[in-house]
Symmetry: C2
DNA sequence: TTTGATTACTTAACACTGTTAATTAAGTTT
DNA sequence: AAACTTAATTAACAGTGTTAAGTAATCAAA
């Protein structure tokens, strides 16, 4: 069935074409300015054609989300070189902030918008890349606690605290709430300082 | 000019009528389901009438936002009874989490949506209630550092860390990202545990 | 008191949005 | 060549924020 396989491949190619241009649009114009019609226009298809390849807009968002996680995972590859759990956690946090600041539109999709999450909930399983990142975080924290470097508590509790802190920084920054606390020019530095401060207090204990 | 004053008062009453019903809609149906037409329908006016009282939808959002901050400030009144900076900060954090979990639609508007912030930026000044809350946070932290109870650092740095942490918890919860870390039934408890853990490590130092 | 201006409000419309149903055109199989 | 399948389209629905034009009612001045 070589012909049917090629057909299938062509279908996948168009799917990917849609996703590629969707992501470009996100990066260029931001989440709220991406519409089915705009995506369709970019790939020179009719808007309704998109519905032959994806169930709805949320499904496209979901796949863009997944790509975001892949980008994020890549930035964390070098972490394996750091063996001290605290240092590793620290660098992981820095990478997180960096990723959020450099890819605000992706970050928005991955952690702020509810649309892609609705799709995941519908599909039952999902968010595999997200789960993967969380698993890595929990392992580091467990390591740190085993080595007596982190104030002991349930690993989920500490993971939640750490993740919430970096997510809070990025999402407040993206949504322009930090301007009220520091001057825009000092914002990025203060964000990293906040992370340093947390790790310092965490280490001392 | 008694007559012109009464006219003015009537105008204010309709303004308030619009805002009241807008907020009811937010709470009942959530941010994304509130439209100018729905608000208009509730107050039995034409949709375009709203534009006689507010410049655009964002301005309505902004005022709902302000009401949210007032609600939040009220929940913090009892804080003045607590004199130990750490305990005070701890209770402030608990109030913050509580407010976010009990008023997700308001919280969304106040700290997650970008629409009302756009209006504030346009108006130059603004966000007075938000600034007020941040000021209170900074004072407590400065107190704590002065009394040697908190690892010393620039007050903005620590304020940012603490705020980010509680905001991260609430916003991840609201946007359904915490389900991946803990079971829904344990979520609320774990959130408060995370706060406790942060305060504990912060105190020990 | 009648005219003219101001006020409060509505209707109609524009340019969008996501999405569905019906339709056309092309390619494949019998 | 006829029948069937597939891929894509056009037209349409119901909704969005917002603007311009029009309509009554109210008020001030002639």
């Amino acid at each position: 069935m070589g012909i049917v396989a090629r057909k299938e491949q062509q279908k996948q190619e168009i799917r990917q074409l849609i996703l590629d241009h969707s992501m470009k649009l996100f990066v260029e114009e931001g989440f709220s300015h991406v519409s089915m019609r705009k995506i369709a226009e970019r790939i020179q298809y009719s808007p309704t054609t998109l519905y032959l390849y994806f169930q709805d807009k949320n499904e496209i968002l979901f796949h863009c989300c997944e790509s975001g996680f892949e980008k994020m995972l890549i930035s964390n590859i070098s972490l394996s070189l750091i063996h001290n759990p605290i240092d590793r956690l620290h660098q992981m946090g820095r990478n997180y902030l960096q990723f959020g600041l450099e890819n605000p539109e992706f970050y928005d999709l991955m952690f702020i918008q509810e649309a892609p999450m609705d799709r995941i909930i519908e599909m039952g399983e999902g968010w595999s890349s997200g789960d993967q990142a969380l698993e890595a975080l929990k392992i580091i924290i467990q390591d740190g606690m085993d080595q007596g470097l982190i104030v002991p508590a349930k690993v989920e509790t500490v993971a939640m605290a750490v993740w919430s802190m970096v997510h809070g920084l990025v999402s407040l920054a993206i949504r322009k709430r930090l301007d009220k606390l520091v001057k825009p020019i000092d914002m990025e530095k203060t964000m990293f300082d906040s992370l340093d401060w947390l790790l310092k207090t965490l280490k001392k204990a």
